[in-house]
Symmetry: C2
Subunit: 194 residues, 2 copies
Amino acid sequence: MTPVTAAERSDAARNRERLLLAARELIEQGGAAALTMDRLAEHAGVGKGTVFRRFGSRAGLMLTLLDDSEAAFQARFLFGPPPLGPGGTPLDRLIAFGAERIAYVVEYGDLVLEAGNASRGRFEVPAVALWNQDVEMLLRAGGVESREPGLLAGSLTAALDPERLLHLIRDHGVTRERLAASWCELVTRVAGGA
Amino acid sequence: MTPVTAAERSDAARNRERLLLAARELIEQGGAAALTMDRLAEHAGVGKGTVFRRFGSRAGLMLTLLDDSEAAFQARFLFGPPPLGPGGTPLDRLIAFGAERIAYVVEYGDLVLEAGNASRGRFEVPAVALWNQDVEMLLRAGGVESREPGLLAGSLTAALDPERLLHLIRDHGVTRERLAASWCELVTRVAGGA
DNA sequence: AGAGTAAACGGACCGCAGTCCGTTTATATT
DNA sequence: AATATAAACGGACTGCGGTCCGTTTACTCT
């Protein structure tokens, strides 16, 4: 039988694994800044062209590196326990959503930052579109009526922009707790709470 | 008498003018993308080192290019006629603020975008700090009480992020009017409106 | 097994932002 | 006018992300 999606060639698969392994090693040693595409190629024992064919760009690589944890986040939102998962009130889920995003951004720091430098800008990152949908869905479920629910959701998720969060945390000493509280205040107000 | 701030040397002043003129010419011809630091140096008839000593970085140059229009915006906010200037209700001013920012971003497009790539990130841009203060002041004047007014104001201005606005306009065909309406809805809700 | 093919490979190459440092020049001082 | 000096100058240089294209290699078909 002929597979609709051509199977990946074995050498390609092997090299992809090598590259991801090498990338994690380099980052573990010297942070995201220590990961240059040349160094990665050398460390993984492949040519530079291979790196770019595999991931398209530096940002694409970062995105791939974050793929697992992003999927895990989405899974917790869709199937996990409250308050983030289904079960709680929409407003509680919204509040939890922000708190979890903040924690996520803190944990992965520079990786998230650099993943945002994609060719079309950081709003093309697939995960961003997902968050927007999540927030929009929660707003609707929470009874928030708007003529532009997508834009309203986007306005809210903009407050969770990784660059903004990390800037506040690193350069202004704002704690995660204060950010979470501010997010809570924002969504509560928008949802029409007291 | 000895000036506290050493006067700028005449050749330096002359070169600064030349560079700004050359930069505007290059941008007029081929957009911001056509402005490379090498080309600018050549077009202005100075060495590359001079360009960087003057503006620090590409983003710094863009910032300088935007300086006048940013100052004009701030002046209209501080001294201009309502609805943006003092005189109207805080909520009306807030709404006008968003509409004007959207128009501004549309007008200067790529320039604003590239000015955001500063070393410390786009939240170090001086104008951004100003907007935050403006919004914070209007929120306070509008009777919005918050334990973290600065963070709340920042959450709102995040919705006016140039990259977000331009992405929506250029890649999703969202009109200025819809963006302005969405901003209006956001601030009205946050200000506790119906 | 052998031939054919599409895909993967690798590394020289490009243009860019940004740095460095030996040289030149405007200005203040006498 | 001559001198001193701090500042400005210029362009070669570095390291980076990203591209290109001739070569090699894994799979398929007979």
